[in-house]
Symmetry: C2
Subunit: 333 residues, 2 copies
DNA sequence: CTGAGTTTTTACAACGATTGACATCCGCTG
DNA sequence: CAGCGGATGTCAATCGTTGTAAAAACTCAG
């Protein structure tokens, strides 16, 4: 079953070394020999044994993507984009669901998978910045997400403060005054950073900051958004707009608004963050911050591969993903 | 950086093989030696090298999951479930997006990844049954999805005919007479099988079969559902219910219905298939066929591992996933 | 205390691909 | 025709782990 290098060599009538040379693009090879070898490879349907190669070379061309959960739409889309970007470069992505568990995240950082993977793209939830720095000796690592903006590791993220500022300002610009925020306490520093932009926008517009309008919730899912929205609607003086720190929260919020018989954006305008596909087809469609996921994926992968190949100790790089505010029905009835 | 077996051996004062024996639970080891070795492993923070192990053993404890796209909600949820099920058994899942491309599917079947993976769970889109049979010599393989029900390969799937029958019958039971079907032509045989159940239900109820009410669409996404629904609404005699062959289609359809100002289920009742999370939080929430994804995942993984470990040529197994009809707002206003 | 029988531990050789040092063999140039 | 560079081949070693088989250590009966 297993075709080996030697099988190819035998069929091509050359030495094992030559086949290896062909595969590894060794400079001095006749077009003729190369053709012969390639024909044999084709004929035998040969694939190099990854284990053997990786054992010998110390490189596997596998990278890991560690995300909290692949079933959540944002991460699913991100994972898909990163897989594609990596595949283009002949790299395979191994997706790791940490489920936000510290133990699982630690495992990732320890360069788990027994030296199989060449590097990690990591979207942390629980692990604190300091610990990441500490453990990050094992493998090249690129961080995603806004946490940790001041660290010493390579990093790719949206400028969440600015984006949140824009989102909130958009709500103000359509005449809203009581603007709530959902997701304030959420994971990975996201909550804190986005709240910063939110508050900044309120302040810039001279609007008061009402603590009752800042909802933490326990997670970043639809149900959390729905619950938070219900809380907001129970307030004596309910908000006329909500900025949700991600689209899932926003979709949950929309559900609660619908249940309450309120119109969107008539009674309450809603803005999300992430631009997941669900939001585009929702009714009403969701206004949201749309970061370029393919850009993010391309750059995260490129950065990591750079670091893996890296000889000299290049400076830490910190990339900012371009984004736009997609105005849709949930704010522009 | 790389701590090797020999490092552990040196520190514990035993031979390399003994350490290996400890790790692999070889029966004859003194408690004392074991303790010594384990202490050394702990102290040095040793992790076995996957490549070397896999090279030597011919087993890697990696399996691949090949799906059309991980960003589509159903497959994202399925992938998450399978990852979890595998992790429980110490297996790592490598997710492969075939994007429905024949070339990519062929690669999967050829047992790509250079013998790294031990087996494949495959959810085919384009590749025909016959070709799968043919190529399936390389690696143990478990098929998902309804295509190929009569083949010779291990197989885990919902009884789509029955489920579709139930879904359609439910629509009939709430008094609908003009029931459309969306997704009839779609990929992987799904369309054909579900249509069969749909037609059967109509026939059983003595309802006429109107070809104009069977919509194919180009894919299984929201946009396809939305487009199909628009087509249906343009009919002179529009349907009073729609059975969509998956939830994404249904959500798209709901969007078009909302755009048209029609009420659900008042004017048109909608049923989906898959029970993805989006449907539960949609407004109106979506009535759907809910197959037990964890059951599916557990059994697919177990079946595959069985086959991998398998000595004797066990008979082909064909597992049917239990499901329920979740009645929600889109049919029960 | 000896020898047989049983545990426990070890030495050695693979697994498949790659690499480096050299040895060839070729056609050419000077 | 010596010599040179290009193109291949030979050979051996290496990556880290584990299966085989045998050596070493221990147990216990006589």
């Amino acid at each position: 079953m297993a075709t080996r290098l030697s099988d190819v060599a035998a069929r091509a009538g050359v030495s094992v070394k030559t086949v290896s040379n062909v595969i590894n693009d060794y400079p001095h090879i006749t077009a003729q020999t190369r053709a012969k070898v390639e024909a044999a490879i084709e004929a035998l349907d040969y694939t190099p044994n990854v284990s053997a190669r990786s054992l010998r070379k110390g490189r596997s061309d596998f990278i890991a993507l560690a995300i909290p959960e692949m079933a959540s739409p944002y991460f699913a889309e991100l994972g898909a984009a990163i897989s594609r970007a990596a595949k283009k470069r002949g790299i395979t992505v191994l997706i790791d669901q940490t489920e936000g568990e510290p133990a699982a995240e630690k495992l990732v950082l320890d360069g788990m998978r027994g030296q199989l993977i060449d590097g990690i793209i990591f979207s942390p939830i629980t692990t604190a910045p300091a610990k990441i720095e500490l453990a990050a000796n094992a493998k090249p690592l690129v961080l995603l997400g806004e946490r940790h903006a001041g660290g010493t590791l390579d990093h790719v993220a949206v400028d969440s403060v600015q984006a949140s500022f824009d989102a909130t300002t958009h709500l103000i610009s359509i005449g809203r005054h009581r603007i709530a925020a959902i997701g304030v306490g959420g994971g990975a520093g996201t909550g804190a950073v986005r709240r910063k932009g939110y508050r900044k926008a309120l302040k810039a517009a001279g609007l008061p900051l009402d603590p009752a309008l800042e909802l933490a919730g326990t997670g970043y899912h639809r149900e959390d958004g729905a619950a938070a929205m219900r809380e907001l609607l129970a307030l004596p003086d309910r908000p006329d707009a909500v900025f949700c720190f991600n689209d899932s929260l926003a979709l949950g919020a929309l559900r609660s608004l619908a249940d309450a018989g309120l119109s969107v954006p008539g009674d309450v305008a809603v803005v999300g963050f992430d631009d997941i596909e669900d939001g585009r087809y929702h009714s009403p469609s969701l206004t949201t911050i749309s970061a370029d996921k393919d850009w993010l994926a391309e750059n995260a992968v490129a950065l990591l591969l750079d670091r893996i190949a890296g000889t000299g100790e290049v400076d830490r790089r910190d990339l900012t993903v371009p984004y736009t505010l997609q105005i849709r029905e949930s704010t522009a009835g």
